[in-house]
């Protein structure tokens, strides 16, 4: 058997070009499977961890998913707002440690504008409990100051000190500029891989100030309050869109949720963000499964290539098999030789694929985060990835049985005289 293995190695080396190409294609498909899987998991993680450390998200009564969509992802619009008095009542509840108001509706060149309190920056957490950090500047402290997310800064090439104007409404409905009240950028946040990156943050007072001379969603004709006069007005907000609430004790979460849902002042809804985000991810899980199916198919294509290469090579190797038989090799040995060759090519290909994955994640991780907001961690193979990898090798083993079986049949039929 040792002699057979040595001969098989020589024989494989003689066919190194075709085998090399096959090995390479398996490597590429393995790398693709693993990176798709990694991106999928990271996407899921950064999605379901868009907020952390928040016990409840409160908004006007709608669906939980819809509330999450507009309050956390800034997608879509709230049908109703919350009265400031309701928010104040919730914030004053004895079980509540902190409450952050969120006010949405304006935009800046396609990016959402979020009105909030300065407390937002030290309170908001994402991922596995990470805090927001400023890559430049600081939080807003005056009315016409803005803090922008990393993607806003990168896409629009903004720096601290730049001046921007906001637009009333979003998308197609964004018709009117708040051109008379420009904002100064005072801070830029580090990339988080969440919706924060795509958000312009201003204070709630600024949100009110912008709309002082507006009534029912439109500027009042002939009325214009200059920027330097707004601070003479009462800028305390009358309404907000949603609120993030942290509790003193997590044990109170269900009690507090019931309190909000049965709030007497107006119909409110409180959702637990983790549960709602999981639920939301389920609805877009189709994409996830499709991604996995595609990369699994790529592996199948790679292994089909292996089988066809080995089968095609087999016809040219009939002489070789006959000589092996004459030397004393049994049909079982011939079978093993082919099967082992296939398994080794698959294994080597899978290993090369891991190397390609590592090289790619090291080289492209920064670019992926900056350009696509995709977090791809350069980490050692997880147990699940090891599982996938062994599944690839196992499938390779099964696929290698085909040329092995063919060689076995061939050497039985040919005996010592190959019919070429």
């Amino acid at each position: 058997m040792m002699a057979m293995l040595k001969l098989a190695a020589h024989s494989a080396w003689a066919r190194r070009l075709t085998l090399g190409v096959t090995l390479f294609s398996i490597a590429i498909s393995t790398a693709m499977l693993l990176s798709v899987e990694r991106i999928r998991l990271n996407a899921r993680q950064s999605f379901t961890q868009s907020v952390s450390g928040v016990d409840l998200v409160v908004g006007a009564r709608t669906g939980g998913v819809q509330l999450m969509l507009y309050s956390v992802f800034h997608v879509g619009q709230a049908t109703n707002n919350i009265e400031w008095t309701s928010f104040a009542a919730l914030a004053g509840h004895p079980a509540v440690a902190w409450a952050i108001p969120l006010s949405l509706g304006d935009s800046h060149r396609g990016f959402a504008v979020l009105g909030t309190s300065a407390e937002y920056f030290p309170r908001f957490r994402y991922g596995d409990g990470r805090w927001l950090k400023f890559s430049d500047g600081k939080a807003f402290s005056r009315v016409f100051e803005a803090v922008i997310g990393s993607e806003v800064a990168a896409r629009l090439n903004y720096r601290v000190g730049d001046s921007i104007t906001l637009t009333h409404g979003f998308g197609n409905q964004a018709l009117t500029e708040h051109a008379d009240k420009p904002f100064a950028i005072v801070g830029i946040l580090e990339a988080t891989g969440t919706a924060v990156d795509r958000t312009v943050h201003i204070s709630l007072e600024a949100m009110t100030a912008l709309h002082l001379d507006w009534v029912a969603g439109a500027p009042v004709p002939g009325l214009s309050i200059p920027q330097n006069y707004v601070e003479k007005f009462d800028l305390r907000p009358k309404e907000i869109t949603a609120a993030l609430i942290g509790l003193k004790s997590r044990a109170d979460v269900f009690r507090m949720q019931r309190f909000v849902n049965e709030f007497r002042g107006e119909p409110l809804l409180a959702v637990m963000p983790g549960v709602a985000l999981d639920e939301l991810w389920q609805t877009i899980g189709m994409v996830e499964r499709a991604l996995f199916a595609v990369s699994a198919l790529v592996i199948v294509v790679g292994l089909c290539g292996l089988v066809s290469t080995l089968l095609a090579g087999l016809n040219e190797r009939r002489r070789e098999l006959a000589i092996l038989r004459a030397l004393g090799a049994g049909p079982g040995d011939v079978f093993m030789m082919l099967a082992i060759e296939g398994v080794l090519v698959t294994t080597a290909g899978a290993m090369l694929g891991v190397a390609v994955l590592y090289a790619a994640t090291h080289l492209a991780a920064g670019w992926l985060l900056a350009q696509l907001g995709v977090v791809i961690a350069a980490q050692w193979l997880s147990p699940a990835e090891f599982g996938l990898l062994s599944l690839v090798v196992l499938t390779g083993l099964l696929a290698s049985l085909v040329p092995g079986w063919r060689a076995w049949r061939m050497s039985l039929a040919d005996g010592l005289t190959p019919r070429v």
Partner: protein, 242 residues
Amino acid sequence: MSLIGTAIELDQVLYRWPGQAEACLDIPALSVAAGERVFLYGPSGSGKSTLLGLLGGVNVAQRGRVSVLGREMRAIGARQRDRLRAAHIGFLFQQFNLFPWLSAIDNVLLPASFSAERKVRATSERPLRDEAARLLTQLDLAPSLWGKSAAELSVGQQQRVAAARALIGRPQIVIADEPTSALDAARQLAFVDLLRRECAAAQATLIFVSHDERLAVHFDRQISLVDVNRAANRAELQGSAS
């Protein structure tokens, strides 16, 4: 294994290839004495390759008895047949005998790595490589060619390397299947002479298969497969009748 006695004996042997209606071999009796050099001839289709398959233990007769070196091929298992072939039979084919990606001398060394028994015999007088070198020298292959890959050698040189491989470790039986068909007439005779001499020196039984009856005179005995094999005989009669 005694030298005196029968190397090969066939008794009422019937062989039919799977999926074929007619038997390909039907040999009532055939025996070859140990050390005998036999010329086996017959037209193509007379069952030469099939007979060699039976002798090598690659195929097994459906009926009758095939004994090689005193062992009944059907009685021993497939593994044993493979071992018997590796240890005691040297094979030589028409052409493409060698692994092109191995050097000439590595090709000669192969049987020793497939059979421990053969390795022991090959190294009884000198180290294995020296024994291979001795055979290659005997077969008139210049040392400068030994390290070359088999693919670089001429057909004549390749056949001599193949002969050295068949002879290494002194197998009791050497089976040569049309080994000269790729050589020109002058080289054919030289090669047959060489093979005969080497088998005599190794005291090996030689079964030399060919359809070229001109070579027959160089052997102790000539066996016509058409005479021995009733299946070929029937086919021949049918052919001449139609």
